[in-house]
């Protein structure tokens, strides 16, 4: 009974795939930016690694399996370090392998084993956090109409140093999610780390 509708839908999708990109772009033009990817609860993704909710909760995506070895917390620490977010507001979620395929392996390697989880992904998860931070700060600078170099971020708060104005990640995330990711992303020197590499309480165990 469902056979025909499914075939029709498939035919429609295949038939319009080529035109799809142009169509999507056309729809987006009035809003002046790329499509914002949203988490299930509607909160915007800054990028594949970082979702920020309006209440400043940070959702960090974890692409390796937690089996008690602590990788989930360790990877979240690496993202949070570069994101300059408030660690007490960090939660995590796992993208599914299906989402990974659908998004052209946006989270890199999904395998877990051989002590490779942190070793082989630490650089790109840090870049994910740093990229998101730069976009959030840029969004605040745009709103204030000030040079981004005059703005700093710490603990999920963005400050315009000359004026002392502040805002939070949750307030600028909608605007940040529409920005192009920066091409040049610098990572912090590990000697300046405050969250990463520290023996923090695990996020996946009960209190």
């Amino acid at each position: 009974m469902n056979h025909m509708p499914r075939l029709n839908r498939r035919a429609f999708v295949v038939g319009t795939a080529a035109a799809g990109a142009g169509l999507a772009l056309g729809l987006d033009l009035p809003f002046g930016g790329p499509t914002v990817v949203r988490a299930a609860d509607g909160s915007p993704e800054v990028n594949a690694w970082v979702v920020i909710r309006p209440d400043d909760t940070v959702v960090i995506r974890i692409a390796r399996s937690e089996m008690g070895q602590g990788t989930l917390t360790g990877l979240a620490q690496l993202v949070a370090e570069e994101l300059e977010c408030d660690w007490s507001k960090v939660t995590t979620e796992y993208p599914t392998p299906g989402q990974s395929v659908a998004r052209k392996r946006a989270w890199g390697d999904f395998s877990t084993g051989g002590s490779r989880g942190i070793r082989t992904s630490q650089e790109y998860v840090r870049k994910g956090g740093a990229t998101a931070r730069m976009m959030l700060v840029q969004a605040a600078a745009n709103e204030w109409k000030v040079p981004v170099a005059e703005c700093t971020a710490a603990n999920s708060v963005i400050t315009h140093t000359p004026s002392g104005k502040t805002t939070t990640y949750g307030k600028v995330v909608e605007a940040a999610a529409k920005l192009e990711p920066p091409a040049d992303v610098k990572l912090k020197d590990p000697k300046d780390w405050k969250i990463a590499g520290k023996g923090l309480k695990r996020l996946d165990t009960e209190d």
């Binding site: 089996m67 008690g68 070895q69 602590g70 309480k201 695990r202 165990t205």
Partner: protein
């Protein structure tokens, strides 16, 4: 038929006298917190207290445990409060997969009764439980934390 006292409760277990105590605890008493690891008293996953002494229950016969006070991980907490070793284990995030940990906790609880402030050497000598995940350093920290609690 043998009568065992586990965590202060009497259990009539219908097993051969030479059945490993571990089997009676898990299969007959239904207390599965005590784990089967190696079956030859080497790994310590099945550690319980028999009259207050840490014993590897896979190597103890049911007939040897009759008339004695057997305490398993389920009976370690008293009056609704976790034992200080259990609390230290949680506070220090010791477990990885967790399989060996109930036996390790039982061994540590017995050690602290005997030596309230064990040195690293005391720990090395007394806590010979095997952890395949390698949580030994976290366990050591938690033992010292429990000793100082």
């Amino acid at each position: 038929m043998a009568n065992l006292t586990i965590n202060g409760k009497a259990f009539d277990v219908d097993v051969e006298p030479d059945t490993p105590l571990l089997w009676a605890i898990r299969e007959n008493a239904g207390l599965t917190g005590t784990k089967y690891g190696c079956g030859i008293a080497q790994c310590g996953a099945c550690t319980v207290h028999i009259d207050g002494v840490a014993m590897r229950s896979c190597g103890v016969l049911v007939s040897e445990a009759v008339g004695k006070q057997i305490t398993t991980i389920e009976g370690l907490a008293a009056d609704g409060a976790l034992h200080k070793v259990q609390q230290a284990w949680i506070a220090n995030d010791v477990p990885q997969c967790g399989y060996c940990q109930s036996g390790m906790i039982m061994a540590v609880a017995a050690l602290l009764k005997e030596k309230p402030k064990p040195t690293d050497a005391d720990i090395d000598e007394a806590i010979t439980n095997i952890c395949r995940c390698g949580t030994f350093q976290q366990a050591r920290e938690a033992i010292h934390a429990a000793a100082n609690a």
